[in-house]
């Protein structure tokens, strides 16, 4: 067995050194009759070639995004990731290291976490950022719990433009924690009156921009009203590339900013692993969930980095901790940081501009198709179409033509009257040919 270095002779020698007759003697605490006598009913060990063959066949059954004209978004986006990123994250010392509990031999991890925190703070326009969450949706739920700790109130108001799956994740956790959630109805034209829902009982309002339908939202008036009532504004985004082109939430006085970082450096992966971005005003830093890296010095006075403010965390505070989280998305953070370093401000601005230009081009072309209406006034790289037929049917018909056309809004929230809405994303990977194929196929299907 290629992964197990011990030989039979080794095992015998070692058992003799320990002073037991056989290995089962080391399992003597397992209650009588509970130790399995036979290997379980699963296939026996396979060689590398065979495993590659099996998984290769399973992979080939799926339609990869890169193989077809691809316009699917709604929380995860296909972008080009430079080859350098994947090469570097597979460096052994990054890939096979653990949580940097021994900082003297983990400065590589710690320094990139510090760089990541600085990048996220700059992007979002916030004062502090943590070293990542599992993903944007779980980060949003943690932000709501954090707002409860800060305000000592337990009622969150969620915008109808928040990704419905994010809403469900928040509702699930809040319900379990015996907190209250008011989720406003999905509002495709971004006219919902979230201001009316804010009063003195509210801990936070959660608003996504660009929202799940692609609309850009004006956060400042919401922040102002929330603050007037002692509540916090939690700003959410699922497409981090948008921050290269739009006013960041920090400049609109958001208190906590949560986002999905998958777009930078990370593949689609059928939903995970992803990387949650989490930033806040610095006065709330001790209420933040998750891991933090801080600067310090070593015994020679040289600059170095360590995990810090761990008195908020579960391994010290046990049931009083700010969250139960004990990890982060380390390797996804590294991918994000490397890709963001390659981009820099100049590259990110250009990438954002190209995404927006491509989306505008597609929206303009689609607006000319009979049975199609583009509902958004403003958008970044994703917008919503109102179709003359149910969007779910249209997407299936388009898939049969080899085009992955987007996400039917009804798939995110069935039974909410969203059946004719199709959410379409267009990034830098889409070509003019892709767009032409989309427009032509949609005209045929409708």
């Amino acid at each position: 067995m290629r992964y197990l270095p011990l030989t039979e002779t080794d095992r015998e020698d070692m058992l003799a050194r320990i002073g037991v007759p056989d290995v089962d003697a080391l399992f003597s605490d397992v209650p009588a009759g509970k130790l399995l006598k036979e290997p379980l009913d699963l296939p026996r060990a396979k060689g590398e070639l065979e495993v590659e063959r099996i998984l290769g066949k399973l992979s080939a059954k799926n339609t990869a995004a890169g193989a077809v004209p691809f316009f699917v978004g709604a929380g995860a986006y296909k972008h080009h990731v430079p080859a350098t990123v994947d090469h570097l994250i597979q460096r052994s010392e990054f890939l096979t290291s653990y949580t940097p509990y021994q900082p003297e031999i983990a400065q590589g991890t710690l320094q990139y976490l510090f760089e990541f925190q600085t990048q996220v703070a700059a992007l979002t326009g916030m004062e502090v950022a943590n070293a990542s969450m599992y993903d944007g949706s779980t980060g949003t739920a943690e932000a709501v719990l954090m707002a409860h700790r800060v305000t000592r109130r337990r009622k969150a108001v969620l915008s109808g433009g928040l990704h419905p799956h994010y809403t469900q994740v928040v509702e699930t956790l809040s319900e379990m924690a015996n907190d209250e959630v008011v989720a406003l109805k999905p509002d495709v034209r971004a006219t919902e009156d979230i201001l009316a829902a804010i009063d003195d009982s509210v801990s936070c309002v959660v608003v996504q921009s660009p929202d799940v339908f692609g609309n850009l939202r004006d956060l400042k008036p919401i922040a102002d009203k929330a603050h007037a009532h002692g509540a916090l504004l939690i700003a959410v985004f699922t497409e981090v590339v948008s921050l290269g082109a739009v006013t960041p939430p920090g400049a609109q006085d958001a208190d906590i900013v949560v986002g999905e970082g998958q777009s930078i450096g990370n593949a689609l992966n059928f939903g995970g692993p992803y990387v949650g971005l989490f930033a806040a005003k610095s006065k709330y830093v001790r209420q933040m969930p998750g891991r933090l890296c801080g600067e310090t010095v070593d015994a020679d006075g040289r600059r170095g980095f360590v995990l810090t403010l761990s008195t908020r965390e579960q391994h010290i505070r046990r049931d009083k901790a700010t969250s139960n989280i004990c990890t982060n998305s380390g390797l996804c953070v590294l991918a994000f940081t490397i890709h963001m370093t390659l981009l820099g401000q100049a590259g990110l601005s250009r990438l954002a501009e190209l995404n927006h230009a491509n989306a505008v081009k597609l929206a303009d072309a689609l607006a000319g198709v009979k049975g199609v209406e583009v509902v958004n006034e403003t958008f970044f790289n994703e917008f919503t179409l109102k179709l003359s037929k149910p969007a779910a049917e249209v997407v299936e018909a388009m898939a049969a033509k080899g085009i992955l056309a987007g996400v039917p809004a009804s798939r995110l929230k069935p039974g909410a009257g969203l059946d004719d809405l199709l959410i379409v994303a267009n990034t830098e990977v889409n070509t003019d040919e892709d767009r032409a194929a989309f427009v032509a196929a949609l005209a045929e299907v409708l």
Binding site: A25, K57, T296, N324, L342, F380
Partner: protein, 524 residues
């Protein structure tokens, strides 16, 4: 002087003649600035087309002003991150004996297959008809997990161990609510020796926590559990094998006591890697257990994550598993994404995460399982346990064992009793290991043991590697007892950095890079 490999070494000699360098660099150990200190706003390492002029649809939301992000060209980026990587210890660098964290070999085959475009380049919301292979992977992984644990159901979507704990406890809470006992069963029992995530999770889900005392032998006794049981108890969260590296001998009785009291048994499966193929949690009476795929089935830890924490569930809890999940009926599988779509008899408690969980980790874990097979996984558990006990046997005469009456499972636990009077602490000892080329073991955990040192070699270490490790630790132990204090208190001497001031980092938190004030301003 010859070292253990028989090669010349000059330990100690000539060290005092070492020159400080002008740059602060030490040959291959180079000081690496932050990207903010070497990058520029106009630099970039990507070539991106400038679009033809178009009419923006950003409206008044267009960003004004600088973002404040430096860029680096591709060669500069490569060098920066390669240099950073060289300041890290990984399992490919050497023995990484972190007890409870389980650092074993990461097969590159798993990386290769996870990057196949049919897995890495598929979107969670593309039509289900275009991803049958992805659903097959999830079903196959579920089958393996259910078979290995002897449990009838699994929720795949939790994104890490602690997230899986939350999922399992939510299923328990939902089951209790369904019985109409939501208002009364509000207490969760957690042994003192548990991971901090256990009490934190119980509290997160709205339970209050009662501690179960630790027995002098490191185990939980059924009498202590029974003494705390009442109509207010919802569940116990017990780790097995426990954090002291011991298989809980009374686990079956504890499970029975919980069930008799109308409560549930949550098992923290962080240490499942010790018993895969040897014993099944389902046979022990477990109702829910998370499995850290990254530990037990070896997906890379990558500096602390990402993880994956699927939860296996008993018959009683299965109906409450969260969406999304795959439902198989009459040989056909379908993805259930919403509560309303759930088949009869299912009442999902909600959703843990936006999409389907950690597909990238599912593929890696499945590749591991296929490679090992049922025979190899059983052998891996046995070798992990054998290796831990071999280390224990090799050190027990020099270092003290707090719980000598039970065999160690996959990890050997020592305390600091043997260091008494030496002036050397557990932390000092750990830092001295760094100088010898080892990552330290887990220190100061579990909390119930004073100055704990928890060593988990895993099955991927050879006998030769263990022999060298044991010999090194013996030398260090003898030095510690021989009052060779400076070797320890000032360690590490040879790492990229000397000991870091963690107190300062917490007292004056600096959590991001700030542009230094201009020299003139700073002088004023």
């Amino acid at each position: 002087m010859l070292n253990r490999q028989g090669r010349p070494s000059q330990a100690g000699e000539g060290a005092s003649e070492r020159h400080e360098t002008f740059t602060g660099n030490r040959a291959l150990q180079q000081i690496e600035p932050l990207i903010f200190e070497i990058g520029h706003h106009e630099s970039t390492g990507v070539d991106i087309d400038k679009p033809a002029p178009f009419k923006s649809r950003l409206g008044k939301h267009a960003r004004q002003g600088e973002i404040g992000l430096p860029g680096l060209s591709e060669p500069e980026t490569m060098r920066h991150y390669v240099r950073l990587s060289q300041k890290n210890y990984g399992i490919d660098t050497g023995l990484f004996p972190l007890g409870s964290c389980t650092m074993k070999h990461n097969a590159r085959l798993n990386e290769k297959v996870a990057r196949l475009p049919g897995f890495s380049d598929v979107h969670p919301l593309q039509p289900v008809s275009t991803v049958p292979g992805a659903l097959d992977v999830m079903l196959e992984l579920a089958r393996y997990l259910m078979t290995l644990t002897g449990m009838p159901a699994v929720a795949l979507s939790p994104k890490a161990g602690a997230h899986g704990e939350a999922c399992g406890m939510m299923a328990i809470k939902a089951a209790i609510a369904a019985k109409g006992e939501g208002a009364t069963r509000t207490v969760v029992l957690v042994p003192e020796s548990a991971h901090g995530t256990n009490p934190a999770t119980a509290a997160l889900i709205g339970f209050s926590v009662k501690a179960v005392p630790a027995r002098p032998d490191g185990t939980v006794a059924v009498e202590d559990v029974k003494a705390l049981l009442g109509p207010d108890v919802a569940a116990i969260m017990l780790t097995n094998p426990n954090t002291c590296g011991i298989f809980e001998p009374q686990i079956v009785e504890i499970a029975a006591a919980m069930h008799e009291a109308g409560a549930y048994f949550y098992c923290d499966g962080a240490n499942f890697n010790a018993i895969v193929g040897k014993a099944r949690p389902g046979d022990l009476g477990v109702d829910a257990m998370h499995i850290n795929l990254h530990k037990t089935f070896s997906t890379p830890h990558g500096g602390g994550g990402p993880g994956a924490g699927p939860v296996v569930l008993s018959e009683r809890l299965a109906p409450y598993a969260p969406v999304p999940f795959i439902h198989v009926e009459g040989g056909k599988s379908r993805l259930v994404e919403h509560k309303a779509d759930a088949p009869d008899g299912n009442d999902p408690f909600g959703r843990m995460t936006a999409f389907h969980g950690q597909m990238g980790m599912y593929v890696r874990a499945l590749a591991y399982m296929l490679s090992h097979g049922s025979d190899g996984m059983k052998q891996a558990s046995e070798d992990a346990v054998l290796n831990a006990n071999y280390i224990r046997a090799g050190l027990a005469d020099l270092m003290s064992l707090p719980f000598p009456d039970h065999p160690s499972m996959h990890e050997a636990l020592f305390d600091d009793e043997w260091l008494k009077g030496t002036g050397v602490t557990t932390l000092d000892f750990a830092k001295a290991m760094i100088d010898e080329g080892y990552h330290p073991m887990t220190v100061y955990f579990p909390l119930v043991v004073h100055g704990a040192m928890l060593i988990e070699p895993t099955e991927s270490e050879s006998k030769a590697s263990l022999d060298l490790f044991i010999a090194t630790l013996r030398d260090l132990a003898i030095a510690a007892k021989g009052n060779d204090k400076s070797r320890f208190t000032a360690a590490p001497h040879h790492a990229p950095m000397r000991r870091l001031d963690e107190t300062r980092a917490a007292r004056q938190p600096v959590l991001k890079w700030e542009k230094p004030a201009p020299v003139k301003e700073a002088a004023e």
